[in-house]
Symmetry: C2
Subunit: 211 residues, 2 copies
């Protein structure tokens, strides 16, 4: 069966380890491509245009949005963030499974536009572990940690909208689990329309011919 790629949306609580998981997945398996967001926020030290983000000014972002050039977008701390449509669709056509890290509102928009997309939610093994991980970074104040936990409580309400939930206890085990889910997802009927239609056509022709 020949496959078009699948658009994989990954969400999860801050501190669940999404970013590391995705990087490891993309570097281990060739079938993945990591989507790069477009943003209007300023480039920070160590960031590279076209790798970390596509850095653009506000008029460019708005013009891209106006010509349906983004499959989803959001505003965060006064800056725009969005997913360039052309790059994603080009990768999908080439058979790449495109990985996208966004939150639930964006995930639901993508599900609407790309019914064959795959929505994954990454969980910490426990809330205690989530707290510990948020604390361990050492860069966040208690207020920031508290805000993230509040945000997590809100995000948890949307979990049922996801197709699969994975628990990030062991990083490599969790990555392999995601890879297994993606492989299974390629076997959904919606990802094999061509094969199904060909088979239906052959069966019909055979039955008609033999009548």
């Amino acid at each position: 069966m020949k496959h078009e790629g699948i658009l994989i949306v990954v969400s999860g609580f801050s501190g669940a380890g999404k970013g590391t998981l995705m990087k490891r997945l993309v570097s281990k398996y060739e079938n993945y491509a990591l989507s790069i967001s477009m943003t209007t926020r300023g480039k920070r030290a160590g960031e590279t245009d076209g790798v970390s983000y596509f850095f653009v000014d506000r008029p460019t972002f708005e013009e891209t949005l106006a010509r349906d050039g983004l499959i989803e977008h959001a505003v965060y701390c006064g800056n725009y963030y969005g997913t360039p449509r052309e790059w994603v669709e080009n990768q999908l056509e080439q058979g790449k499974d495109v990985v996208l890290e966004i939150e639930i509102q964006g995930a639901l928009k993508i599900r609407e536009r790309y019914p064959n997309s795959l929505l994954l939610f990454v969980m910490p093994p426990s809330i205690q572990e989530l707290q510990a991980r948020l604390g361990k970074r050492g860069t966040e104040t208690p207020d920031v940690i508290r805000a993230r936990l509040q945000r997590a409580a809100q995000e948890a309400e949307g979990i049922e909208a996801y197709d699969f939930i994975v628990v990030n206890d062991d990083l490599d085990a969790c990555m392999e689990q995601i890879h297994e889910i993606v492989r299974a997802a390629h076997l959904r009927p919606g990802c094999n329309k061509e094969f199904i239609n060909q088979l239906k056509g052959e069966l019909q022709a055979l039955v008609k011919g033999e009548k």
Copy 2:
């Protein structure tokens, strides 16, 4: 995450190799249990009651049906066939993934009653291969083969209702693919309600406690 078992419905064209696949899956992995149907048809040579089928008389079957003792049933060549509910639900509660081989009408009934069930459709690699397999058995007349192809053409119209389609080209590869799908299916939110609710509760408690 603690799991209840999943009810796995396997359908597919006659000649696709469902029976052999299921037997191999159940004998290789401990998490599966193969459902045994109840039937009113006579026992054939080599068949054992409670292994091949539960052989019962018509009043017993009708009484079982009347007390909601079957999760689906059908009539075929004047005989009743049905799936005993108690045995299946008991296995599911014990965490077993119960495999059930039935056709599309039964599959759709099961989806309605057990929303977390998994509907798999087994395909031959091609129609040429399907014809060859039907012919190879050597026991069927051309008329029977033709009737099965006609039936296959009808069944093909319902393929989109299934969750996953697998191509039975290599028996072991196909079996492993099914096993992978089942493992992934356990990660759907519907199969992890307890875990999700616990996590939501802990998060809420934490957020409220820190306010």
